[in-house]
Amino acid sequence: MHIIDRRLNPGGKSLENRQRFLRRAKSLVQGAVKKTSQERDIKDVLEGGEVTIPLDGMHEPRFRREGGTRDMVLPGNKKFIEGDYLQRSGQGSAKDSGPGEGDSEDAFRFVLSRDEFVDLFLDDLELPDLAKRKIAQTESEGIQRAGYTTSGSPANISVGRTVRRAMARRIALKRPSKEEIEELEAAIGACTDEDERLVLLAQLEKLKAKTKRIPFIDPLDIRYRRFETVPKPVAQAVMFCLMDVSGSMSEHMKDLAKRFYMLLYVFLKRRYKHVDIVFIRHTDRAEEVDEQTFFYGPASGGTLVSSALQAMHEIVRERFNPSDWNIYAAQASDGDNSYSDGELTSMLLTDKILPVCQFFAYLEVGESGGSAFDLSDSSLWTLYERLRNSGAPLSMRKVSERSEIFPVFHDLFQRRETVQEKAAP
């Protein structure tokens, strides 16, 4: 008789099977994930959870028989006698295995973990080329300790290590210690017998000579701390959310913007160890706010886009040194901007903001179902388009429906594609 505790055995024996299954079902699951995510709130969406995929393709067929005459024995007869007829559709028809049984399994539901979900969702997305190039460049050099060396600059002498080696050498070569010499000197001083004193003196001479031959610290002992330079990828990013909160921005528009920000956040979060978010809202003046105020706080006034860019510029200068941070920015607006602000905006953007940003996206949000949206380009859109045509690395999209957010996001970040070519939403 053996009783064995297997609880500590590694669980997840099915993990590999599960991964195989997901790999096989990938395209199906991906479709399902996208569909699900359009229906749900972003926050919930990124919690992972249950998805439903069509069984087709995941189906394991077997020969099954159906139809024909059927015989069955059942328990619980209450009133029937031989020769009775039961109505087919009615109660007691005992359709426990009707012909439709096999088809009831036409969709397959299962739970994805958060990571699996986000993986599948973002699977074919990648940072745009521009950003990738910059990441490679902005890897800063870090230095790290790499043991000890026998040569180096005096500033790098490792005292502890040097002394330790010196002591080892002194002990090995039997260098007389200070105490020994003092003791001997004291003995000489106290000595009354001349012969003995001469012997002691000779001993002292020998010790002193030995002390001279064996230095306290020899150049051999000296050790320097060694440093190596290693390339250190910048593992942190900051994401600036800029939003126009003037009266012309409706709740719907803010909602669209929010979804875009959230997606960008999750996307960045997958690639950086640490992601900061800065919310800047603006009317005719800009302020940095917390998330709650950003989306829901009331504000009113005119519209000066440059104020937000100015604020962002200042925050970058104060807190986010571009050599340490990858900077991403997403601006959402309904496209209104004060006419006189155009020059300042364009100047700030080209000179201050874009050079430090990995990626700058402009999202123009419109009212749901607004058909006039496409007719004429807004002042901000026209301005940005001009900048972009002259080569500024800007991404721009127009969005008016909730369901468009994911496709647009997808579009912006599609792998191996230059996203700057097309502007149409």
């Binding site: 064995i4 055995n9 020969f63 028989r65 005459t69 015989d71 069955m72 619980g76 031989e82 539901r109």
Partner: protein, 512 residues
Amino acid sequence: MTERLFEGADWDFHTLQRITDACEVVALKDLGLDVYPNQIEVITAEQMLDAYSSVGMPLFYKHWSFGKQFAYHEASYRKGLMGLAYEIVINSSPCISYLMEENTATMQTLVIAHAAFGHNHFFKNNYLFKQWTDADGILDYLDFAKNYVMQCEERYGRIEVERTLDAAHALMSHGIDRYPGKKKLDLREEEKRAGRRRQHEEEVFNDLWRTVPKGASKTRSAISLERRRKLLGLPQENLLYFLEKSAPRLAPWQRELLRIVRHIAQYFYPQSQTKVMNEGTATYVHYRIMTQLHQQGRISDGNFLEFLGSHTNVVFQPEFDDPRFSGFNPYALGFAMMQDIERIVTSPEDEDREWFPDIAGKNDVMGVLRDVWANYRDESFIGQFLSPKLMRQLRMFHLHDDPEERAGIRVDAIHDERGFRRVRRELARQHDVGYIDANIEVVDVDLSGDRRLILHHHVIKGAQLNETDAKRVLQHLADLWTYDVALIEVDSNNKVLREYVVSPRPIPAAVA
């Protein structure tokens, strides 16, 4: 005064040891059971889910469909739609029983009595298991299978292996020898043989032989149809066996994979034929052991009540018009029949003496039961031992549903004098696996001609194959066969009802 095995619900490993020892005494001395050595393993809920998805086996080769099973079970478990089984037990020697750590001490006792003694005895003594399974070899064989599949994946690619296994799985239920005749499976020997086969192939491989011109082949017409069929062992109902031996273009490793799937299917075949008996036996044994332990004062009244609660749930049989009804519960039917046999043996009525002259009043309950457990399967067990009293008690009746009949479903027989034998025969038939699975066999193939494989499905009572699934399975079959495959559905008068023809998909031919 005997000491209690445990108090309350907590248990530790010493408790489990005491419980097992106590159960063993009752099982071996009082009930006279004969069991494989026991191995009891305590696992977590997650590990239980793992075990579920690989048909309860501790080691299994990797395949996506087990992942699908896992995802499916996990989803329904999380939603609370499904409880986990209390135990899983493996027909091996030693007999391995998995216990869940969440179980209370009472439940562990129940599970040990049920699995480690009830199922264990059944596995060791029932003729089907003796005939078809190799308890000593199964774990080694599964280990071999797992490694073999892994090696194949390394050598020939995951996709290729997956394709072959998918096809084999689709045909798994038709990879079984239903009738004995060949000698018993010896899985250890099987494993060695597989190794030797591989080695031999490697040793004798010489590329030159491929280029040697072959002599003139026999004229095609020289081989008569009869002889051809005989050479191929046709008709053959074991489709996997047929493919393994005769599919012209399979690589040796593919044949080995088919063989593995076939052996595993065969290993589980007795289980599907003995659900009612197996669960009935285990339930009867646990009931006897628990009652005995309670009578000895080794289980407190409270714990015994807890046991009765679980036991009653397990043997609950909803009636046909109950929303919970989904056919006969094998635990309920099996247990009721075992108890009924006990009644017939100890205190029979006249009716029982007439129906069961061999056992009525024989008084040796365990002797009779052990004999029954050893020599029957569900179909013959029900056909032989379902008593009129039990049919009355469960109020069984027989329905005949003919779609042509406009009046509805006819009640063909009920639990009365006229109906007993008919109800019993019908219920027995429902538990006959030979009758449940579609009867499909390879009838012909023209190996020297167009190599089309011809299968027949013998339609019984008008139940034809589900078209979508049939096409899919045939596609897999054709892919393995690499030539056209035709499936003809014929009724008992050999009238053709439907015909499928499937061509293999253009897959790059497997390289030998």
